[in-house]
Amino acid sequence: MNQFENELKNGKFVCSECPKCNKLVWPPYDFCNTCFGNVIWRQVSRSGKLIEFSKKDDTLFCIAEFENSIRIMGELEIGLMRPMLGEELELVRCDYDGKEKFFFQLKQNSSKM
């Protein structure tokens, strides 16, 4: 497993960042995809926004965007809320079991917990 997968398994969402270009390198790898310089690894903010969503059976899935840069798909918990595009959400859980897994919750829901 690489660093990204290791951290994900521990519930941490990290990404590579190029200190020279001052940008997140996504998908995460060992060198910057602009300057090929070395990257550092840091946690990504767990606050993001909803880009698009749909539903399979009773479970919603979506694309969420973090730090205005990284877009990932995952499961979306909405409780009794009606999701709206652009709405704030939170990454509440992530995991890796051979496959990356992301779980999001609308911000208004998570603040009630």
């Binding site: 996504w26 399979k56 899935f61 990932i72 990356e100 897994k101």
Partner: protein, 369 residues
Amino acid sequence: MRRVAIGGFGLTKFNKQDVSIESLMLSSIKALFDNSPNLTQKDVSVVLTSTNDNNKYLANIVSEIAGISPKISHSVESLCSSGANSVISAFSYVASGLAEVAVVVGAEKFDNPGLVLEWDKSRGQYKHPVYWSSMFTRSHMRKYGTTMEDLATVSAKNHKNAVANPFAYFDREYSVDEIMHSKNITQDVRVLDCSFPCNGSAAVLLASEDIIKKFTDCPVWITGVGQKTISAGFTKNEDLTTMKSIKHAANDAYTMSKKEPADIDVAEVHDAFSICEIMEVEDLGFAQKGRGNQFVKNLYETQDRKINPRGGLIGSGHPLGATGIAQIVEIAQQIQSKAGKRQINGARVGLVQNMSAAATSSTVLIFES
């Protein structure tokens, strides 16, 4: 750069029989030789194989079992667009003068490993293609009012067209109502909105302008090619209502061939899911943005086969490595007026659009009589 044309083709019926990948390839090469009486193994200087199969050294294996000793032989893999990309590779060899005659054969087994791009971290636990399709569908519905009935119309049209294609996996029509009531996989994608993995094989012969007349009196010239990779990961598609790679590839192909969308008489487009065809006819310039649904509905209601006359991926089945080549075979048949019941009257200019992994890359070719 020399002119290059399609001079022959071979197809086998798409099915789900248990057969090896090299046997599948050999079957369409045999059909190609059967259809090309003046072609001998000694004429062939390039053999390219298009597949996502994990077997190694396939181009060389296939060359040996077909009795060919080419100068150049290798595989081309780029998921669903392996077929069109392998034809462009062969085109380049012949156009540059490195080779005179190339055989390109694509094949896939129904249980191929190329269906899901496991690498794509950005898809999280939603790696199956049905999920990116749902995102495109939902977004297009939201912005342009595309409906579930519009999607069903794409599938109904392509299944109807496939009935006239003797090589298609499906051999029956589905009504819009049947498709509307087929099982939902997600909220936005039903079973009958999907293309199906199956066995399939297709082969084409490419030759330079210096030798093409040996093989056919009706060469189908490749006059435009365009390829574009935006990314490999799905979520780099920033605007989910547009397939950006198609626009880039189409623009290059139109420019090279000095053609415009209005010049295209017939096209095979990559309808991996119903929404794809609606977005593709827009991004290829056949329909105004947001009007792809109406464009396809009109084709269906007027029984116009202009788009996906062989039934597309939805009607014909989708053996990944063979799909792009089967699309090219259809357009070649149309331009040669050999498409039988599927024939578009007077088709002189045709287009093929093949793509991979949620349109993260696309390939467009333009053909002329």
